[in-house]
């Protein structure tokens, strides 16, 4: 009898089967990639079904499946409701996605937009924030893969983490954005069905009334609607989610990949589909005290409860769901970050005359390089997933106002945008260390917003939106 929910051999078998399938699927989809635009943006022609699914699946990450239960375990019902409010990021990005398609019909990345709208200084600050965030997220995903495999099947952390990185790098390398989006569709279905099944099984076997009674008697703070730190977390999480989505090239590259009339409704649908998932995954953690489960690491509370209630079948479902959640975000992040490096740094700054073939080759090298760097940074298990996630909040929330105002307001200039992002980030980090993780994004967003407001009041300039349509200008010169 093993002390783990799954035998190590079963875990390895699932990983190998999934790995072979995803890499082969990625290779098959990659055959259609003829140009760098095909590889990076799936030909800018993704339909509604794939678009909605990829928006939803990419936002379901290790954080949704591991951290939402962890936060529910720590903050009670506000933990899961607060987490579900991160759906606002996708929903509010819907009109922005439409605007992005209109303003940048030939754009590639969010960095493209910042450079053209605000100039080089703001671009530099933005790229630093984007890269820090991307690595924070990549590391949290890589670590989550290792933690998952180890806790469920006893497979060594380093082997599990390496395997999941190799698989995701493999199919993204072969198939580019087309593979990322098509696999996201299947992964979205697996995640939703798996999560629903676990929650239903838990309700059927333990009972909602029983969970509520137990918590009322033994842990009333988890049902408290006025839990101060939890309410603060709710607002912090909203701004964190907005910052993540508004600035990250993961979401911009998707908006640019979708068909023109699809971007708005895809993000709106994706957000609505995502909204209940943290509540469903978070709720699973509320059964832990009643079941006498107190895991050594709080971020494993969800999988531990599911495996305890459903036994081996539950462990397999959890394994597959979290693996899909990790893969759906890891591939997106690898593709989007490599696009950012290829387009913004290599193409625009170093090799403006690079051929399409060179760009494609460099993009692939970037995916591989990012995978290797993530692997190196994941080797030491440096922080819990929650800590890593919330630290990034200080960075990304500072970009909310510069991005939003940059898309809709002509008066904000590059100097103020750069200052807002830099000072917002520093203030958020100060809040993180001085007060707690639950204020980092709030402070960052507030300071950045204040600077942007001053910038708009003091500015007498009017930005010309046509400057964003870069490719047309190049073509006109030719």
């Amino acid at each position: 009898m093993t002390e783990f929910a799954l035998e190590t051999s079963t875990g390895i078998t699932i990983i190998i089967l999934f790995g072979v399938f995803w890499v082969a699927f990625g290779y098959w989809l990659g055959r259609k990639n003829r140009t760098h635009e095909d590889f990076a943006l799936a030909g800018r022609n993704v339909g509604f079904a794939f678009a909605a699914a990829t928006a939803m699946a990419t936002w379901v990450t290790s954080n949704t499946t591991l951290v939402a239960p962890q936060l529910t375990y720590q903050f009670g019902i506000w933990g899961m409701i607060g987490y579900s409010f991160a759906a606002l990021g996708l929903i509010l990005f819907a009109p922005m996605a439409k605007r992005i398609k209109e303003l940048l019909p030939n754009g590639y990345t969010s960095g493209d937009f910042v450079r053209l709208r605000y100039g080089n200084l703001a671009w530099l600050v933005f790229v630093v924030i984007s890269v820090v965030y991307a690595f924070g997220w990549l590391i949290s995903l890589g670590m989550a893969g290792g933690i998952l495999l180890e806790s469920l099947s006893g497979l060594d952390y380093h082997i599990g983490m390496t395997t999941i990185l190799v698989i995701c790098v493999g199919y993204t390398l072969f198939g580019g954005m087309r593979a990322v989006i098509a696999t996201d569709f299947i992964q979205a279905l697996i995640i939703i069905v798996g999560v629903s099944f676990i929650a239903y099984w838990l309700i059927d076997n333990v009972g909602l009334d029983s969970i509520h009674s137990n918590l009322t008697a033994e842990h009333p703070q988890l049902l408290d609607l006025l839990f101060p730190a939890a309410v603060m977390f709710l607002f912090n999480n909203i701004f964190f989610g907005l910052g993540e989505i508004f600035h990250s090239n993961v979401w911009w590259s998707r908006a640019l990949s979708f068909k023109k009339d699809v971007a708005y409704k895809a993000y709106l649908t994706g957000g609505l589909l995502w909204l209940p998932i943290p509540i469903v995954t978070g709720f699973i953690a509320l059964a832990a005290p009643q079941l006498g489960i107190f895991p050594p690491s709080p971020d494993m509370i969800g999988p531990t409860v599911a495996a305890a209630v459903l036994g081996k079948v539950g462990a397999i479902i959890v394994f597959v769901v979290i693996f899909s959640a990790l893969a759906s975000s890891l591939d997106s992040l690898l593709a989007a970050t490599s696009d950012l490096v290829t387009q913004d740094i290599f193409h625009k700054k170093l090799k403006p005359n690079a051929s399409d073939k060179t760009l494609m080759r460099f993009n692939r090298s970037c995916i591989l390089g990012l995978g290797i760097m993530t692997w190196l940074l994941c080797l030491p298990r440096i922080a819990t997933l929650g800590a890593l996630l919330n630290f990034a909040g200080a960075f990304v929330a500072s970009t909310i106002w510069p991005i939003l105002l940059g898309l809709y307001q002509r008066r904000l200039t590059g100097g103020y945008a750069a200052f807002a992002m830099a000072l917002g980030t520093l203030s958020g980090m100060l809040g993180y260390f001085a007060v707690g993780f639950y204020v980092a994004a709030l402070v960052s967003c507030a300071i950045s917003g204040l600077i942007c407001l001053v910038g708009i009041i003091r500015s007498d300039k009017q930005f010309d939106w046509d400057q964003l349509n870069e490719k047309e200008q190049v073509d006109a010169n030719q």
């Binding site: 993704v46 569709f185 939703i192 049902l223 609505l272 998932i277």
Partner: protein, 40 residues
């Protein structure tokens, strides 16, 4: 102030219902795109 049992149950049931509808919706959209050849 604690959330009462009825509100707690409704919160979880509603979330589960919305999650359950999602795969049906996604598959429906996929079939529609497939038929009209607008997947990509």
């Amino acid at each position: 102030m604690l959330i009462n049992e009825l509100a707690f149950e409704w919160l979880i049931f509603l979330a589960l219902l919305m999650t359950g509808v999602a795969p049906i919706l996604l598959l429906g959209l996929f079939i529609k795109d497939f038929i009209s050849k607008t997947i990509w």
